[in-house]
């Protein structure tokens, strides 16, 4: 639903006559222009997958990571303006660090996402600043509370999810995610499915090369958020590519 908010869209401190804050909506459009990131929660952990578009062959492999570590047990996958996302990752890290210093234990993910969401929301209140142009997905795993997944968008709301997607192909990704029975899957099974979804939603025509960033946190990593090890990643990417080929073949047969 796109519309022009002429006159009411110049600052975040203005409502339009139909009750919208256009600056926040424009910030969300910035997220929609970025490549896709997904996060899925399963019974023993959380897996993140990011389609990182490689704009130039001159880039060093692995540069401009879009998955961050916020404290040992929390991971963050982002979509939108990367500089804004980096700044928010620092905010999240400070929150987690202060919590640990004050209360002696890991910050619960719900609390962390609410605190960072409050921070993001603050930037939607004043004309002197602009809203953050990024959404991000936070995930963690704890022996007592299990796996948790939260998403924060530029308006400053945080939602808890079993699976969510942000970025340009979020609709297509959500459709694929809904097909999964994530509550019954383990992280090892889920990693392959996440890789497959990223490969499915990647647009070969419009965007050429991409790097797949995969990370997980769960029983398999003892509650620490880590990038997926090389062998697991290669197995996942192979599974993804093979699944795509199968679908292509079956399409040809149908013709």
């Amino acid at each position: 639903m796109s519309s022009i908010g002429t006159g009411y869209d110049l600052s975040a401190s203005t409502f339009s006559p139909d009750g919208r804050v256009f600056q926040v909506e424009y910030a969300m459009k910035a997220v929609e222009n970025s490549s896709t990131a997904i996060g899925i929660r399963c019974k023993d952990g959380v897996v993140f997958g990011v389609e990182k578009l490689v704009l130039s062959k001159l880039y060093e492999e692995g540069s401009n990571k879009r998955i961050f570590n916020i404290d040992r047990h929390v991971g963050m996958a982002v979509a939108g303006l990367l500089a804004d996302a980096r700044s928010l990752a620092e905010v999240a890290r400070d929150e987690a660090s202060n919590f640990r210093s004050n209360y002696g234990h890991d910050i619960p993910l719900k609390h962390l996402s609410e605190r960072v969401a409050m921070y993001v929301h603050a930037y939607t209140l004043y004309s002197a600043v602009r809203p953050f142009g990024c959404s991000f997905i936070l995930g963690s795993f704890d022996k007592d509370d299990g796996a948790q997944l939260y998403m924060v968008d530029p308006s400053g709301i945080s939602y808890g999810y079993w699976g969510c997607a942000i970025g340009k192909a979020k609709q297509a990704a959500k459709t694929e995610i809904e097909k999964l029975q994530m509550k019954d899957m383990t992280c090892r099974e889920l990693v392959k499915e996440v890789a497959k979804i990223i490969y499915i939603v990647h647009d070969e025509v419009k965007d050429k090369a991409f790097e797949l960033e995969l990370s997980w946190v769960g029983e398999v990593t003892n509650g620490r958020h880590e990038l997926v090890p090389k062998d697991v990643r290669e197995e996942a990417e192979k599974y993804a590519k093979d699944s795509l080929e199968e679908e292509d073949d079956s399409d040809e047969d149908n013709m």
Partner: protein
């Protein structure tokens, strides 16, 4: 067998030592019935040590802070959280304060726990701990008689005995014993007058 943590008062009196004469070691006992075991949350209690004025002020702040934290978290605070709040206050203000605490309680994640926050703000976890002027007289007793995984009755008896022995020997301890038992189902605070405590051969 359930592991119970017992928080027992090991200092029986407060010494009003504003007129403490370092040369002659004169002590004035202002009260023998002050309660130094304060509840900071439903299942978390703290014993005070050091300057009671400082300890009371710190505990009041910590109690508020913890209550606010528990509302934000939408759940009861962990015992380590209570101890950490005290630790931050003691450490950050170590130049002005003379207060130490024994924090004990029960939480859903780790069950019964005891943490000691010393004067300068060190925080350590212990299974059993003693403090105060009378504690010097019962180190041997505690070291010898403590066993892990005692039952509730054994633990209570152990603590009561330890207190009685300390109160018997320390000239500035005595009066009443405050005993608090904290478990999953709640906290019970009993006050035992000195003459009702077990008797030993210390006279």
């Amino acid at each position: 067998m359930e592991k119970r943590c017992l928080d027992a008062q090991f200092k029986g009196v407060s010494t009003g030592v504003s007129k403490y004469n370092a040369l002659n070691h004169h002590f004035y006992v202002s009260s023998k019935t002050i309660n130094k075991v304060i509840q900071v949350h439903d299942r978390i209690f703290c014993c005070m040590a050091g300057s009671l004025a400082d300890a009371q002020a710190v505990l009041k702040t910590a109690k508020f802070h913890l209550s606010f934290h528990s509302v934000q978290m939408e759940s009861s605070p962990q015992v380590i959280a209570a101890a950490s709040v005290l630790k931050e206050l003691c450490y950050k203000n170590k130049d002005e304060l003379q207060a130490g605490f024994i924090t004990a309680g029960w939480d859903r994640k780790k069950g019964p726990q005891i943490y000691v926050v010393s004067l300068g703000g060190m925080l350590i976890k212990q299974e059993v701990t003693i403090g105060g002027s009378g504690s010097t007289y019962i180190y041997g007793y505690v070291d010898a008689k403590y066993r892990p995984n005692m039952s509730r009755e054994e633990c209570l008896q152990f603590a009561t005995n330890a207190l009685a022995l300390a109160m018997g020997r320390d000239n500035v301890s005595g009066g009443v014993a405050h005993l608090v038992v904290i478990t999953e189902s709640g906290a019970e605070h009993t006050v035992v007058p000195g003459d009702k405590l077990p008797k030993f051969h210390d006279e």
